[in-house]
Amino acid sequence: MDIRTLSSIKSKFVARQVAEELVIVPLSGNVAQMNELFTLNETGKFIWENVSEDKTATQISALMTAEFDIDEQTAQRDVETFLTQMDLLEKYNH
């Protein structure tokens, strides 16, 4: 999933922090998706919370290097991995 798509579907979820992680629950108009809840670890939580219309994946990677004291290459890989994992939310993009 690209960062722009994720930004556009983010508003279709409700998120709540639990300890250092995040639970995200989709808004849903049917019972089929009733049991679909997702958890994000600390890294995923940081990326999710920073995804917005005006931020690129590169900008989020740069923020990660400062937040987690990691190099740019690692941060970029983490963002790419996260976006790939977010493909499972594609069905909420309607």
Binding site: V14, V25, V31
Partner: protein, 287 residues
């Protein structure tokens, strides 16, 4: 089936519903043990009417559709005063059984029924779900066994063994609070489990909640403690929800975050015999 006349009070999880009508109401037998004194102050008003009103559903915004490939259960539409529910007959499948209106404060229902059975399934469980939004409570697909000290709640997918687990604990001397659908409610800083009216007759019951087990059949008894976001997401998945409104989801998340921070949550693979009782009690002693 019982004919109850024109006015009565029902208490579910200590929430009192005042049900009334100008015509006699028939109740499914499972509601009878939940009738309480008419003098009790009601939290929710439920006015019942016989006959279905004309409604132009095409002119309303559809919020939620409860249906699967085989069956339509109910649909929820947005109306000025709150929500309009359309419930379908579970035998004929497409025939409208009730049209019900719920106000935005969740404390006033107007139920129009095809006949005298105003609370006929799935109307009852829908009312129960929305009454939990009035307070610190949730409606769960779960069973619960109470041994006199501890209430152990067992939840899982259909076929995971909730009824089997109930039978095993009943044989070991525990009281079964319910083996399918129950309310968890926080009162005075403690979580309690309540049974709800079912298709069978059972007295109204309450137990303190001590632990939650998410169960599945397995070759051996094996428990794994869950915590944090994972515990919240796994337990909340078995809560009965209509997630078309962000405020509903926020309320549920807040409840489960609180519940999971104070109540032990386990994933439990179990062998369906009495060995699981010993395993659980020993496991709890070890923390």
């Amino acid at each position: 089936m019982n004919q109850f006349g024109f006015e009565f009070n029902i208490a579910i999880a200590e929430i009192v519903l005042h049900v009334f009508s100008k015509k006699a109401i028939e109740l499914e037998d499972g509601y009878v043990p939940f009738l309480v004194d008419k003098s009790k102050t009601a939290d929710i008003e439920v006015e019942c009417f016989q006959g279905l009103p004309e409604v132009d559903f095409d002119a309303l915004k559809l919020l939620f559709d409860a249906k699967n490939e085989e069956q339509r259960f109910y649909s929820i539409y947005e109306v000025a005063e709150g929500y309009c529910f359309v419930l379908f007959d579970q035998q004929t499948k497409d025939e409208i059984q009730q049209i019900a209106y719920l106000n935005a404060a969740f404390d006033n229902w107007k139920i129009h029924s095809r006949n005298a059975m105003a609370l006929k399934y799935p109307m009852g469980p829908i009312i129960m779900h929305y009454l939990t939004l009035l307070t610190d409570a949730v409606l769960m697909h779960a069973s619960c066994a109470f041994d006199g000290k501890k209430g152990r709640l067992f939840s899982g997918f259909s076929g995971a063994g909730k009824s089997t687990m109930s039978m095993i604990w009943a044989n070991a001397g525990s009281q079964i609070i319910n083996d399918d659908r129950l309310v968890i409610r926080k009162m005075d800083n403690q979580f309690f489990v309540y049974n709800t009216p079912m298709y069978y007759v059972d007295i109204s019951k309450k137990a303190p909640l001590s632990a939650i087990y998410l169960i599945s059949h397995f070759p051996e008894n094996k428990a794994k403690k869950l915590s944090g976001a994972l515990a919240v997401s796994k337990v909340m998945a078995f809560c009965i929800q209509n997630n078309f409104d962000k405020s509903f989801i926020n309320k549920r998340l807040e409840f489960f975050a609180d519940l999971c921070s104070t109540t032990p949550i386990y994933e439990l693979g179990f062998v369906p015999n009495e060995s699981v009782v010993t395993y659980i009690t020993e496991n709890e002693k070890q923390g």
